[in-house]
């Protein structure tokens, strides 16, 4: 009997279990098809888009690359020798920056919002979400163009840049796009976003003034000075808000948002210290820089320039005095290197306008803008008067270099101006100009390396996506 019961019980269990036991799904993800069901989902997706920007700009080499590539920084011999591929111009498709990869990741997030937003009822929420997506997408494409392509002005019709993708289709093998057409699309996205986007979206999100400010940069790159001025006027309002003298340093400790049109937030809990670590770490209480301020640039920051102390400090490492960049030291009392990444400031927009005025032949307005900036930067400020247009331009460009130093601009600006990189071979990495000098000094404005190589993982796979010439 017992045998019988055991046998029956075993056979009964052999009959099997339910197939529904195999229906197991993830606990921390939702299927793509269900990602845009409610309006709250759109908010989640918008936040996701900005968290992507945090990846491309905060958790990356963004804040040092354009300075290390050019002549604002020099490699410190006592550092960890990071990014030497770039500062020594030895990059190729295998060792290039991954900016474009993460930028396309953000662009997809924007495209997904744009593809789904029409499901939702018309109104301010919808307009704003759509506009933010357009603006974020444009922002990414503009920076792709700055890294990888010739500028609008310098490009010929045969020069191309990465494809301008506007859908979330996953089976595409897109071809490159002519540079000028690409810039036109960026402009179109921003122009479409401008009227729809909210005037104030709160901290860390793009608002209307930021879109207008970015347009001023874009039009400057495109050489359209009238539109540069118009956009800058819209962004700056009647009285441009520049941080006061005392606030210049506070901007870099995230104590004020004066003069910041858009920044990507990097909170204490996000704890991304990459912006700081790109420049230095503290070892035994001393700053150990990867790159230090180039000697001549250091001299250009005069003692009465408040940016001097806000951006730079001089201290010894291994007994050797060096000029360290402290723009990314972090918040007061906070973790070294953890701070928001400023992507657009009023000072730049003002300089965009000044340059556009000048290039439109209006030296007076250009000088006024220049003096407005200088008045908030020099403790012994005296207005510049009686300068020739050439002198005004030189000073605008010099102020641009000083103002935006270590903020990811110099390399792009040289490229925009069609200038070569000429590094001073007589000056080393120490505060007094001695020490180890640059290994490589000059890059002609025609050098193919002004256009960074695309990742070979992409160009090898998608043969429509041709590598930049020269690599």
């Amino acid at each position: 009997m017992k045998k019988f019961i055991f046998t029956i019980a075993t056979i009964a269990t052999l009959a099997g279990c339910k197939k529904s036991e195999l229906d197991l799904g993830p606990f921390d993800q939702i299927e793509t098809g269900k990602a845009f069901t409610t309006q709250a989902d759109v908010t989640l997706a918008v936040n996701g888009m900005y968290s992507g920007l945090r990846g491309t700009y905060a958790n990356s080499t963004w804040n040092i690359m354009a300075d290390a590539l050019a002549d604002n920084l020099i490699l410190s011999t006592s550092g960890r020798q990071t990014l030497t591929n770039f500062s020594e111009w030895r990059y190729n498709g295998n060792t290039s920056i991954s900016f474009i990869t993460s930028a396309y990741g953000v662009i997809r997030r924007a495209n997904a919002i744009l593809e789904n937003i029409d499901k939702f009822p018309a109104g301010a929420f919808k307009d704003n979400a759509k506009a933010e997506a357009l603006a974020v997408r444009a922002w990414q494409y503009f920076d792709i163009a700055r890294y990888y392509a010739k500028t609008y002005v310098n490009a010929t019709n045969t020069d191309s840049v990465a494809p301008y993708v506007t859908s979330t289709a996953s089976d595409i093998m897109p071809s490159k796009e002519p540079v000028r057409q690409f810039y036109d699309k960026i402009a179109a996205d921003l122009v479409a976003a401008e009227p729809l986007i909210a005037v104030n979206n709160g901290a860390g999100r793009i608002n209307r003034a930021a879109v207008q400010g970015l347009l001023s940069r874009l039009y400057l790159y495109m050489g359209d000075y009238a539109k540069t001025i118009a956009s800058a006027n819209a962004a700056l309002g009647t009285t441009p808000v520049l941080p006061a003298l005392a606030d210049v340093a506070r901007v870099w400790r995230d104590e004020t948002t004066n003069g910041v049109l858009f920044k990507v937030l990097n909170t204490t809990l996000d704890n991304i210290n990459t912006p700081g670590v790109n420049y230095y770490q503290i070892t035994s209480g001393n700053i150990r820089s990867e790159y230090v301020v180039e000697y001549n640039l250091r001299q250009a920051f005069t003692p009465t320039d408040v940016r001097s102390a806000a951006y730079i400090t001089t201290s010894p490492y291994n007994g050797v005095q060096q000029n360290h960049v402290i723009k990314y030291a972090g918040r007061t009392g906070g973790i070294l290197g953890v701070l928001d990444i400023k992507l657009l400031r009023t000072a730049e927009v003002l300089l965009n306008r000044a340059e556009a005025h000048l290039r439109s032949g209006n030296g007076t307005l250009a000088l006024a803008d220049l003096n407005l900036l200088r008045s908030q930067r020099y403790t012994d400020y005296q207005p510049l008067v009686g300068l020739t247009n050439d002198q005004i331009l030189t000073e605008i460009l010099r102020q641009r270099r000083l103002e935006l130093a270590f903020e990811g601009d110099r390399f792009f600006d040289l490229k925009r101006l069609n200038l070569p990189i000429n590094r001073d071979g007589t000056k080393g990495d120490r505060a007094d100009g001695t020490g180890t000098t640059y290994l490589f000094l000059n890059m002609a404005n025609t050098d193919h390396r002004f256009q960074l190589p695309y990742p070979s993982a992409e160009t090898n796979f998608n043969t429509n996506f041709k590598q930049n010439p020269g690599y």
Binding site: T77, T168, N273, L439, F461
Partner: protein, 1013 residues
């Protein structure tokens, strides 16, 4: 030869014999000439026979035509005696090879070893017990032809990579399915099992043996059975081992000493920071004139400075970054049985102080396997094992925190300490010693294995078995970024972080098997079964910042919570399987098997898949025509064909998803996570093989030949998508790969005498790997390897180096067309045909010698045909280089640089800026061939005459050496697993591709003893 002559003679004599009866007398003895009582003596093919008496004597009247006597006795193998004209014989019989009666588990069935008819290697406990290696997987290396084991690194307790018959996957796991007492476990859990608790390990290599495991058997199956109680009275064993652990020396390279390095830097025109500061001090004191530099002081002044630096320097940093390690092992085991109960109980402790500074691992475990015969027809049992391990893990990455990397990067002229007594941070800006002390990482694991079963025989021919097997693993890590440590200062915060995971799996298996022999010649066995597997993971990560003091180490003390996350995932499998076997008189046999698996990892369209296999075998020795060839003691031919599968590592790989786990400004966010691939399906293997097993001269020489062919279709791989989509890849089925090769095992008793035994065995495996089909002509797999049709998986794709131009000291490279250029371009990368990280052959050579009470065994392991990208060499021969390669120490090979036209050297000029770039090329791609003396054991076993007097059952003492010698041309250590644990384990699923400061290999000398009571 002698036997052959004998055979011929007996044949001739047989012809001459006349038809009448005669009486044969004889004495049956064992190998040592002791009498064997009560043996049975039969005339072959008749029932004429007798029994020997208690003294082994017999007398038997036989027909004159009788040619052969068969002598058999319990515990001995049958002996056939060819009769000659003699009428009196002394007949020696050999003890039966009991191991052939041992039962091994293969595919839900237990089979006697002698009845195994597949390509299955059985690794016996003796081969893996009592080794000073605390991870079981590494012990399997060299033990079975066709099973390749590559240590991931030398870290105590680290698992090995296992590959059966080649690499059949790229992105999905290439590891075999490991079944321990009926449950599939990870190699990590597997590695926590005490090797001494294992009865045997069967390596199922062919299609037939593995197919019953279906969807997960594509890479072969390793079936592990833990020890059962021995029959008979209780046996208590105590074992002890102590090992001395040191570094296995690096091959063919040597780091520069202080003078060599200083001179090298000087020649390269590099400003040495220490020398520079000494010069500045001398300028200040007035000893040197202002403006003095290393390059304008006199040669004597420079020499004096260098001498001073040398005397202050640490010299060889090995003595600081490494430590004198040891292993310590204690074990008590009790085994035995009574009429209803069989039991095996063991307790084990293994403590290891590893080679790297601070490295440590302690493992404690126990096992209790018990079986109870409740009724004559029903038995139940449980196998229960628990292991706890706790370890200190060194940082192991390509970064200043890694002590092993620091060994290569610290300059010999840099002092160990600063004048204030703290560790010198060196040019690296970080002391790995201080880091190991203050930024600790402890890992604690518990692995629990439980298998409960009941087995009933309601009918004599029917066995029903129901089994529940469970495996519960926890891992808990605690890392501390101690306040006041250098790293805390660098990062700007102190932090304590705890992380852990729980992993619970259960497998419910029910089987019914029916065995019947009809008319004594038809043997039939039928198996049907069903199985359900479910596995759940849960993990957490907690971190708190701003710890108040280094004396408190829990997160409750942190001023601020930094991280608190948990996550969860699970998968399940439903399976049905069955097999039918038939053989005729154990001479011809066939077996068919099939399995259906359903897995939660696939979309509902591809969820279920079917697998099948068929095999046939022929025991040639059983044939009548073999009787005459008595020197052939065993001859079997077998072949099989079948399918098996492999699942993706990803649990939800087919779904397109948005992840909800990120945030922006502390607000929740949704982020595209992966692209959908609704067509995602299993990797499918189609295998066939043929094998021959033979034994000669009463199995004095045995051997196996196997040929196999394995096709894997639908390889799982993250196939590129254009990055313009926002993704870089989508998990897809991308192509096919074929592994084919052969395996040879030979074993021979060179000497087989009473007091002296010498056995030599050898195994060799050769595997050819080739991609046969791909979705696109070629796919990059890593930055310097590719998948291409017609090539091995992950064949290197690199720029070829063409040596140094003797005229100007510059590096030269080949263009694809073979012409030479001094301009480096990635456009010159080419497929390096035949060069991949895959080994083309490997195997082992073993020698076992026993003389009276002494024994000596040697195991050599060899491996070759693979190529390794030697990044460590590239770093240490930095092309005279840029600052990054001069801040770190260099190999003496770097001194072989170009100085003047006509120099034919390996390295470029160190003063030419354009050459100071040390670019990646096949200059650093090296052959991975090596042979190593893996294991040497010298032992002494106390003779039983003495142990009896001492009142113990056995005593053995031994000395064992591990990794005593290696032969290779590779520069460094050619046994490369992952590049290093922290940055390479996940991304380099393929072992042996890159050297990058993984934990070094130890050389161990161990003494041990075993006492049995």
């Amino acid at each position: 030869m002698r036997k052959f002559v004998l055979l011929c003679c007996s044949f001739l004599i047989g012809l001459a014999a006349i038809a009448q009866n005669r009486t044969i007398t004889g004495r049956v003895v064992d190998r040592d000439n002791n009498k064997v009582p009560n043996a049975s003596v039969l005339v072959k093919g008749t029932n004429v026979g007798t029994s020997a008496n208690a003294d082994g004597q017999f007398s038997l009247s036989v027909a004159a035509t009788a040619k052969t006597l068969v002598i058999s006795a319990v515990g001995y193998t049958d002996r056939e005696l060819n009769l000659t004209a003699n009428t009196n014989y002394t007949i020696q019989i050999d003890p039966a090879d009991k191991s052939l009666d041992e039962v091994v588990v293969v595919g839900y069935q237990s089979v006697k070893k002698r009845d195994l008819n597949g390509s299955i290697s059985v690794i016996d406990n003796k081969e893996i017990a009592q080794k000073p290696i605390s991870n079981f997987t590494q012990l399997l290396q060299g033990k079975s032809a066709g099973l390749q084991v590559i240590g991931q690194s030398g870290q105590p307790g680290q698992s090995g990579y296992m590959r059966i018959r080649g690499t059949g996957s790229i992105n999905a796991s290439s590891e075999p399915l490991i079944m321990v007492d009926g449950i599939a476990v990870t190699s990590t859990a597997f590695g926590l099992i005490n090797p001494n608790d294992i009865e045997n390990v069967s390596v199922l290599k062919d299609a037939s043996a593995a197919a019953i495991y279906g969807a997960r058997a594509g890479n072969g199956v390793i079936v592990v059975t833990t020890k059962r109680g021995k029959s008979g009275k209780p046996e208590l064993r105590y074992s002890f081992q102590h090992g001395f652990v040191g570094l296995q020396p690096l091959n063919n390279v040597k780091l520069m000493d202080a003078r060599q390095k200083l001179k090298y830097e000087y020649d390269a025109g590099v400003v040495n920071a220490i020398a520079d500061s000494m010069i500045r001090n001398r300028i200040t004191s007035g000893a040197f004139p202002a403006g003095s530099t290393l390059f304008n002081i006199t040669a004597q002044q420079r020499e004096d400075l260098w001498s001073l630096m040398e005397s202050r320097g640490a010299g060889d940093w090995k003595k600081y970054y490494l430590q004198d390690g040891y292993t310590d092992q204690h074990e008590v085991a009790l085994t035995g049985s009574s009429d209803k109960v069989r039991y095996y109980l063991s307790l084990n402790k293994f403590n290891e102080k590893g080679l790297m500074y601070m490295s440590r691992r302690d493992r404690t475990g126990g096992r209790f396997n018990i079986e109870y015969q409740a009724y004559e027809w029903l038995k139940t049992g449980v196998n229960l094992g628990v292991t706890h391990s706790t370890e200190y893990q060194n940082r192991e990455l390509n970064n200043v925190q890694s002590p092993w990397r620091a060994y290569f990067t610290s300059n010999p002229y840099e002092p160990l300490y600063m004048p204030n007594g703290t560790y010198n941070l060196t040019f690296q800006g970080f002391s790995a010693l201080e880091g190991q002390e203050k930024n600790t990482f402890f890992l604690d694991r518990i692995a629990t294995f439980a298998t409960l079963y009941a087995e009933a025989k309601p009918l004599k021919s029917l066995t029903l078995k129901t089994q529940l097997a469970m495996n519960y693993n926890t891992a808990k890590s605690e890392s501390y970024l101690q306040p006041g440590s250098n790293l805390a200062a660098i990062l700007g915060y102190s932090q304590k972080s705890d992380a852990g995971n729980q992993d619970f799996q259960y497998v419910a298996t029910n089987t019914a098997s029916w065995n019947k022999t009809i008319n004594g010649e038809h043997n039939i066995d039928v198996l049907a079964g069903q199985e359900f597997t479910k596995r759940s993971f849960y993990s957490y990560q907690l971190a708190g910042n701003s710890m108040p003091s280094s004396t408190v180490t829990t997160i409750e003390n942190a001023a601020q919570v930094q991280t608190a996350t948990t996550s969860r995932s699970q998968f399940s499998i439903i399976s049905y399987f069955g097999s039918v076997g038939y053989d005729w008189k154990k001479t011809y046999g066939v077996k068919l098997s099939a399995r259906t698996d359903g897995s939660s990892r696939f979309g509902s369209n591809n969820r279920f898949s079917n697998f099948w296999a068929a095999s046939a075998w022929w025991n040639i020795k059983k044939e009548a025509f073999m009787d005459k060839l008595s020197y052939i003691s065993d001859l079997r031919l077998r072949s099989s064909v079948g399918t098996s599968g492999n699942v993706p590592n990803q649990f939800y790989g087919s779904l397109g998803t948005y992840a909800l786990s990120s945030s922006y400004n502390q607000l929740p966010a949704a982020v595209p996570n992966q692209l959908a691939n609704p067509d995602l399906t299993w990797e499918k293997n189609f295998n066939y093989d043929i094998g021959l097993e033979f034994g000669l001269f009463n199995n004095r020489i045995t051997g196996t030949f196997d040929y196999y062919h394995r096709t894997t279709k639908d390889l799982l791989f993250p196939k590129n998508v254009s990055q313009a989509t926002g993704f870089t890849s989508v998990l897809s089925n991308v192509g096919s790969v074929v592994n084919k090769g052969f395996e040879v095992s030979l074993s021979g008793d060179v000497i087989r005498k009473k007091d002296l035994n010498w056995n030599i065995s050898f195994n060799y495996s050769q595997n050819d790997n080739k991609v046969t089909q791909l979705v696109s002509p070629d796919l990059p797999s890593t930055s310097n390897t590719r998948l291409t049709v017609g090539q091995e998986l992950n064949t290197y794709f690199m720029v070829r180096w063409a040596g140094i131009n003797p005229a100007n000291g510059r590096n030269r490279y080949y263009r694809p067309d073979g012409s030479i250029t001094e301009t480096y371009s990635l456009n010159d990368q080419v497929m390096l045909e035949g060069k991949s990280p895959l080994a083309k052959f490997f195997g082992s050579i073993n020698s076992n010698l026993r003389y009276k009470s002494f024994d000596l065994s040697l195991q050599f392991y060899y491996n070759g045909g693979n190529y390794i990208y030697n990044q460590m060499y590239r770093n240490a021969v930095g092309d005279g280089g840029n600052a990054s390669s001069l801040a770190i120490n260099q190999y003496t090979d770097a001194l072989n640089y170009w100085t003047k036209p006509g120099d034919v050297v390996a390295n470029p000029s160190i003063t030419d800026a354009s050459q100071k770039v040390n670019l990646a090329s096949d200059k650093f791609l090296e052959k991975g061939d090596y042979i190593t003396l893996r294991d040497v054991v010298i032992g002494y076993t106390l003779p039983s005459s003495i142990t009896r007097k001492l009142g113990i059952a056995g005593f053995r003492f031994y000395v064992q050496g591990t990794n005593l010698w290696m032969g290779t041309k590779f520069r460094g250590t050619p046994e490369v697993g992952f590049p290093n644990r922290e940055s390479g384990a996940a991304t380099f699923s393929q072992p042996g591709q890159l050297t990058l400061y993984s934990y070094p290999t130890a050389r161990t000398i161990t003494v041990g003893l075993d006492i049995k009571f």
